[in-house]
């Protein structure tokens, strides 16, 4: 296996709540190799974005962070703000879900893309904007030199997401966190943006943490997958293995809920009923001490609610956090 770039151990985030701290992340573990792509999937509220913000050191005010984040051999938990500022946008960069609101509406995009290079590389504005033209060209924005003076509202959703990616690439980060990069986009554009991310990972040797609730997006781009539910990772492993043979009841449900374009259905065969996971994600205060999925799980037994289940291996590199794995298969 390639050198480990990012190693997260027992990462916990507690958010301040009216009745005491609420666990948003319940001690998660994962790793990303240099140049690797980890897809983080789960419903909204499962803790995917919280994981990203914890890695960036941009948790909401009052949030408590514990555990360990080792990045390029350096511990990030407890690092002072100034050191985190040096890393952000430089070694670790992030793109955000809604590129309309994630870009400053009153600043031309050229300046926004150039800014991180001026900050971390000490480039002059002219040099940084030349570099911005190259990046915008690379991410496929047409006529990038002229586009430097454009404002976000003058671009389409797909173009804005490309600008977000160019903005994140400025200082050639070792890790790119892409939070729902395709969610706000049309289906055809989604494929283009995913293809672009894959190309960039390949040509730059950059690692990618791809956060999405869209399993198809993750399946298309990720080498490894971690499935989150209720602030915990319930299953993780190589993408092919997890998608082909999901082990955890939640992951099984998630993958079964995917509408597939099967040839026989297109040919006019009767439609299979779409499967849904009953219930919805409870809010943070609604989880007991045991398995977070217990309340929605068809296989739940008393022991599930007693203690959080550990991740146990199901095949090489593939593990799931369920005490009933043996009974399920």
């Amino acid at each position: 296996m390639a050198e480990v770039l990012l190693s997260v151990r027992n990462l916990r985030v507690d958010l301040p709540g009216p009745g005491g701290p609420l666990p948003a992340l319940r001690g998660i573990d994962f790793e990303i190799a240099r140049g690797g792509t980890l897809g983080l999937v789960g419903e909204s509220g499962s803790g995917k974005s919280m994981t990203a913000l914890a890695l960036m050191g941009l948790l909401p005010e009052g949030a408590k962070l514990s555990g360990s984040i080792r990045f390029e051999g350096r511990e990030l938990v407890g690092l002072p703000e100034s050191a985190l500022c040096d890393l952000r946008g430089n070694r670790i960069a992030m793109t955000f879900q809604e590129p309309m609101t994630a870009l400053n509406p009153v600043q031309p995009i050229g300046r926004q893309v150039a800014e991180s290079m001026m900050l971390h590389r000490g480039f002059s504005r002219a040099v940084a904007e030349d570099e911005a033209v190259r990046l915008l060209d690379r991410v496929g924005l047409p006529d990038p030199r002229r586009r430097l003076a454009s404002y976000p509202y003058q671009l389409s959703g797909g173009q804005r997401q490309r600008v977000m990616i160019a903005l994140a690439l400025g200082c050639a980060p070792a890790l790119l966190i892409a939070d729902e990069p395709t969610t706000a986009l049309d289906a055809t554009i989604q494929g283009q943006v995913l293809a672009l991310l894959r190309e960039l990972v390949e040509e730059r040797g950059m690692a990618l943490l791809l956060i999405s609730h869209d399993l198809n997006a993750v399946a298309a781009a990720a080498t490894d997958v971690a499935v989150m539910y209720g602030g915990a990772i319930v299953e993780r492993g190589p993408a092919t293995s997890v998608f082909r043979a999901p082990a955890h009841p939640y992951a099984k449900g998630l993958i079964a809920a995917l509408p597939a374009l099967e040839p026989e259905r297109l040919a006019g065969a009767p439609r299979a009923r779409l499967q849904a996971i009953p219930g919805s994600v409870p809010d943070l205060a609604g989880f007991g001490p045991g398995c977070t999925f217990a309340d929605r799980c068809a296989w739940v037994i008393g022991a599930c609610r007693a203690a959080p289940p550990p991740l146990v291996p199901v095949s090489p590199g593939h593990s799931a956090a369920c005490i009933r794995l043996g009974d399920l298969s």
Binding site: R88, T101, E115, L119
Partner: protein
């Protein structure tokens, strides 16, 4: 951009025309005959009739309205009944006091309001923020005429740093004139600065929650750099709207504060003219005030377009 400008200019002209009509009609139905006031109680009906003819009061209302508008366009605001001099010469004199007074007060409002508002927002819910909010609540609650009296008591009577009232004019130099306007401007600006500080604070706090602020932080910018480089310009959009409205408030407030400081400004003139039924002067003042308010709003619209590129686009 030119379409945006043209639209705004047209709105400005329409507003002025409408307000001139309102002013004219209100004074038309107001009881009291200016000729009678001028003549006094001893005048005979014959004398009154002659005077009314001379003052042009017998012409139909529509004719008088249009000749009034037409004359104003050439810079002729009519003649004061009470003083017998052109209205414009009276206005000019008073404007030289009231406009600088309102401008100084506006500058103070902007300075204190913006600085304190941004400072408080950067310390959201911490002691500095709470202190500023407490002080501004106090500032909003103080009536400006009372505060003016307190300022006179402290700075003029007790400390003797300023004179208690009056205005030396601009002949002795700008410094002396400004010094005389400082306390009145402070009295005027306190409430508005307090309001502006609160609005600036909440606007900056709102903007700091926006996604693009998180993007800026994700680039590695520190909190302060994000505030100055990204948040402030976005936060200014609602703030500037309020500042435009505040300028109108300051002009109106000046009328009261000028009384307290015995300043010979527009406020004094408008009081006297209403008491004397000196309608030409009253109409001139109101139109002038309306013009200033509309002009400031026009300037605000231009500032919007400079700050927010989207507004320019949506209007063109």
């Amino acid at each position: 951009m030119s379409v945006f400008l043209a639209k705004r200019l047209a709105t400005m002209v329409a507003t002025l025309l409408f307000s001139s009509l309102v002013v004219f009609l209100v004074l038309e139905i107001l009881p009291g005959d200016p000729a009678q006031v001028l003549l006094g109680v001893d005048g005979t009906p014959e004398q009154l009739a002659v005077l009314r003819e001379k003052m042009g009061l017998n012409a139909p209302a529509a004719a008088r309205y249009f000749s009034w508008i037409g004359n104003m366009l050439t810079g002729d605001f009519g003649t004061s009944y009470a003083y017998g001099v052109p209205v414009w010469s009276l206005l000019e004199e008073r404007l030289a006091l009231t406009v600088p007074l309102a401008l100084v007060a506006m500058a103070m409002t902007a300075l204190f309001g913006l600085v304190l508002g941004v400072w408080a927002a950067a310390r959201h819910n911490r002691p500095g923020d709470l202190a500023i909010m407490g002080i501004s609540q106090l500032g909003i609650s103080i009536p400006n005429f009372w505060f003016a009296l307190m300022l006179i008591l402290l700075f003029a009577v007790k400390l003797g740093w300023f004179s208690a009232g009056g205005f030396p004019g601009w002949e002795d130099g700008v410094g002396e004139g400004l010094k005389a306007l400082l306390l009145p401007a402070l009295a005027l600006a306190t409430v508005q600065a307090a309001i502006l500080a609160r609005i600036t604070r909440s606007s900056v706090i709102d903007v700091l929650q926006e996604d693009f602020v998180r993007t800026a932080r994700a680039k590695g910018l520190g909190r302060r750099a994000v505030l100055w480089r990204h948040a402030l310009r976005n936060a200014l959009i609602p703030v500037i709207t309020v500042m435009g409205l505040q300028f109108a408030e300051l002009l109106v407030g000046a009328i009261v504060v000028e009384q307290v400081f015995t300043l010979p400004g527009m406020g004094r003139l408008v009081f006297q003219s209403i008491a004397n039924r000196d309608l030409q002067v009253v109409k001139g003042i109101v139109i002038l005030l309306a013009f200033m308010v509309v002009a400031v709003n026009f300037a605000v619209d231009l500032l919007y377009a400079l700050i927010d590129p989207r507004l320019k686009a949506s209007d063109v």
